[in-house]
C-alpha cells in the first residue's frame, strides 16, 4: 500500500490586486511513495517542495488533481488523515514563553493524549530529543539546534505513520545535523515511520533517502535512487587531474570531454565515459609535455546531479 499517491496535482498562488500576480507552484506533478521508506524531495528554492508537502499535510488545498495520503483523499478526507501524520520544519516556531514539556503537552492534547499517557509521551520525547537539561527553559531562550530538536519531538507526539520533514537540519551546526540525521534514520528503522523529507543538503539526501524525486518549476522531471538519478541524468564521469605545469589548455576540446573546470591547481574534466576517455586524455597530456602528478576518477555526486537538473 502506498503512503502517498499524487496525480496531476496543481496549485497556483494569487497575490496582489492590480496587477494580479499568479505563481504556479505545482504544475500537475505525479508521485507515489511506498510505505516505510525515507523519500527525499529535492529542488531549488521556489520549486514547489513546501507547497507539495503542505498539500499532503492538509495545510493547503490544491487547485486541481488528486492526492491521497495513507489511502485517504487530502481534501475530502482530511479529518481521517490528520491524526496519522505530523510535520516538522527547519524554521518551526512555537509559543515564546512556554517550555519544551509544555509545548509537547499542548500538542499531545491536540492529538487526544491526556493524563499519564500524555506525561509518559512528553517524558519519552524529551529524552529522545535530548531536551532533559532544558526542561525549564522558555522556548525563546533555546538555541536554534534545541528548537529544531523540539520541532522534531513535537512531530512525533502522535506516533505518526507518515512524517513530513521540511529541511529539518536547516541552519544547524554539522555535529548537530549528524545527530539529527541519526534520529531521523532511527525513526524509520525502529518505528517504521514513512518519512517525506525536503532538503538542500545533497549529502543528507544521499545518506538518508531510499529514493529521491527532483522537483523543478512545480514538476517532477526525475526520480529514483541516488545512483539511478546519477545514471538517469547522464552527466558523465569526472576525471580529476593534478598537472605539472598546472595548465590544461586544450583539454576541453578533446572528443568526449564535456567540460573542464580549473581550481586550486587541479583540473576536473567531466567526460561522457571515464573508461573510454582516460587513456586518451593521459596520452594527449603526455604529448603536450605535461606531467600528471595525480589522477582521480569518480562518478558525479548528487550535488552535480542537482545542479544539472536545476539548469
Amino acid at each position: 500500500m502506498l503512503a502517498v499517491e499524487v496525480r496531476d496535482l496543481a496549485k497556483t498562488f494569487r497575490s496582489g490586486w492590480f496587477p494580479r500576480r499568479l505563481t504556479r507552484a505545482l504544475r500537475g506533478g505525479n508521485l507515489s511513495i511506498p510505505r516505510g521508506v525515507i523519500f527525499g524531495l529535492l529542488g531549488p528554492n521556489g520549486a514547489g517542495k513546501t507547497t507539495l508537502l503542505s498539500i499532503l499535510a492538509t495545510l493547503l488545498l490544491p487547485d486541481a488533481g488528486e492526492a491521497k495520503v495513507l489511502g485517504h483523499d487530502v481534501v475530502r478526507e482530511a479529518r481521517a488523515i490528520r491524526p496519522r501524520l505530523n510535520m516538522a520544519s527547519g524554521n518551526s516556531s512555537f509559543i515564546w514563553s512556554l517550555r519544551a514539556p509544555e509545548i509537547l503537552a499542548f500538542y499531545g492534547r491536540l492529538y487526544g493524549l491526556h493524563g499519564k499517557a500524555l506525561a509518559r509521551k512528553v517524558d519519552e520525547l524529551v529524552a529522545l530529543c535530548e531536551l532533559e537539561e532544558h526542561r525549564k527553559v522558555p522556548y525563546q531562550e533555546l538555541s536554534t539546534g534545541l528548537k529544531q530538536r523540539l520541532a522534531l519531538a513535537k512531530s512525533l507526539v502522535n506516533d505518526p505513520e507518515l512524517l513530513f520533514l521540511d529541511e529539518p537540519t536547516l541552519g544547524l551546526d554539522p555535529d548537530i545535523s549528524v545527530r539529527m540525521r541519526a534520529q531521523i534514520a532511527g525513526l524509520r528503522r525502529e518505528r517504521g515511520t514513512t518519512i517525506l523529507l525536503t532538503t538542500h543538503y545533497m549529502r543528507e539526501a544521499e545518506e538518508l533517502c531510499d529514493e529521491i524525486a527532483f522537483i523543478k518549476n512545480g514538476e517532477i522531471p526525475a526520480r529514483g535512487t541516488a545512483d539511478a538519478l546519477k545514471r538517469q541524468i547522464r552527466i558523465g564521469d569526472v576525471i580529476a587531474l593534478r598537472l605539472d605545469p598546472a595548465s590544461g589548455d586544450g583539454l576541453a576540446e578533446l572528443p568526449g570531454v564535456l567540460r573542464c573546470v580549473f581550481q586550486d591547481g587541479r583540473v576536473e574534466c567531466t567526460v561522457d565515459s571515464a573508461e573510454k576517455r582516460l587513456a586518451q586524455i593521459l596520452s594527449w597530456l603526455h604529448e603536450q609535455g605535461v606531467v600528471v602528478r595525480d589522477v582521480d576518477v569518480h562518478e558525479p555526486d548528487l550535488e552535480e546531479v542537482f545542479v544539472e537538473l536545476a539548469k
Binding site: 495545510l59 510535520m87 516556531s93 512555537f94 514563553s97 491536540l110 492529538y111 487526544g112 522558555p138
Partner: protein
C-alpha cells in the same frame, strides 16, 4: 478543548501584559468613570447606569481577548500551521479559550465590583444572583461572538487584522449603549443598536436599577441573538480557515 484552556492559563500566568488586562485597565476604567459621576454630581441611578456599562465593557473586552488569543498566540509565535495540522476543530479552540476568558472576565468583574462598592457605594449584587448571572452570561456570549469574529478576520486578512482584537470591542461601546441609552442614538444607528445582543443584556440589567426597559423581553432577545451570532461567527471562522488553506495564508502566518 483543555489544551487551549491550559495554554491560555499558562500564558496569562507568565506574561506581564496580562496583569494590565486583568487589573490595571479595569481599575483605571471604573475609577475614572466613578470619579466622573462624582464630578458631575450624578445621583445613584445615573452612577449605576454608567458603572454597569463600564463593567460590561471591561468584562467583554477581557473575555473576548482570550477567545482571540486561541489564534493570536499562534500568529504571534508563527506556529499557526501546527495547530491546524492537528485533528482539532474550531469549537475545541474557541470553547477552551472562552472558558479561560470567563474565568478572567469574572476576575475583572469581581475587582471592579469591589472597587465600585468601596469607592462609590455601588452594590452590583442588588439585583440578585439570577439577574447578575444572566447579565454576566450575556457579556460572555457577546465576548464569544467578538472573539470568533476577530479570529476570522485574522485568518482572512492576516496580521493586519490583529488590531481588530482591541478595536472591535469599541463598536460595542458605540452601538450597545455602554455610556448612554441607545434611544438617544440617531436613526438608523439606533435601529442598528438593536442588532447587538449586549444592548438587550444591558437594558435588562439596568432595569433592576430603576431604568425603564427600552425593549420588551430584552434578556430573551439578547440570548437569541447571541446564539444566532455565535452560530454565524463559527461558520465565518470555518469559512475563513478553508479560505486560508486555499490561499496559502495559513502557511504565510507561520513564516
Amino acid at each position: 478543548m483543555y489544551a487551549f484552556a491550559k495554554r491560555n492559563v499558562l500564558m496569562a500566568a507568565r506574561n506581564v501584559f496580562f496583569v494590565f488586562e486583568l487589573a490595571f485597565w479595569p481599575t483605571v476604567g471604573v475609577l475614572s468613570i466613578g470619579l466622573m459621576t462624582r464630578f458631575l454630581d450624578l445621583g445613584p441611578e445615573m452612577t449605576a447606569f454608567l458603572l454597569v456599562g463600564t463593567m460590561a465593557l471591561s468584562t467583554v473586552q477581557v473575555c473576548q481577548l482570550d477567545v482571540s488569543y486561541a489564534l493570536l498566540f499562534d500568529v504571534w509565535s508563527k506556529s499557526v500551521k501546527h495547530q491546524f495540522l492537528a485533528p482539532v476543530e474550531i469549537r475545541h479552540m474557541a470553547l477552551g479559550s472562552w472558558l479561560v476568558g470567563i474565568g478572567r472576565g469574572l476576575t475583572v468583574f469581581g475587582l471592579q465590583a469591589l472597587l465600585s462598592w468601596w469607592a462609590f457605594d455601588f452594590d452590583f449584587f442588588e439585583p440578585g444572583v439570577l439577574a447578575l448571572g444572566a447579565f454576566l452570561l450575556g457579556c460572555f456570549l457577546t465576548s464569544a461572538v467578538v472573539g470568533l469574529l476577530v479570529c476570522a478576520l485574522v485568518l482572512l486578512f492576516g496580521t493586519r487584522a490583529e488590531v481588530s482584537a482591541w478595536a472591535t470591542v469599541n463598536l460595542v461601546m458605540v452601538f450597545c449603549g455602554i455610556y448612554y441609552p441607545v434611544s438617544i442614538l440617531p436613526e438608523p444607528v439606533s435601529t442598528l443598536a438593536g442588532a447587538f445582543p449586549l444592548t438587550y443584556v444591558l437594558d435588562a440589567f439596568r432595569s433592576h436599577y430603576g431604568f425603564a426597559p427600552e425593549f420588551s423581553h430584552p434578556l430573551l432577545m439578547g440570548f437569541i441573538l447571541s446564539a444566532l451570532y455565535i452560530g454565524l461567527a463559527h461558520w465565518a471562522l470555518a469559512a475563513a480557515v478553508t479560505r486560508c488553506r486555499r490561499t496559502g495564508l495559513l502557511l504565510k502566518l507561520s513564516e
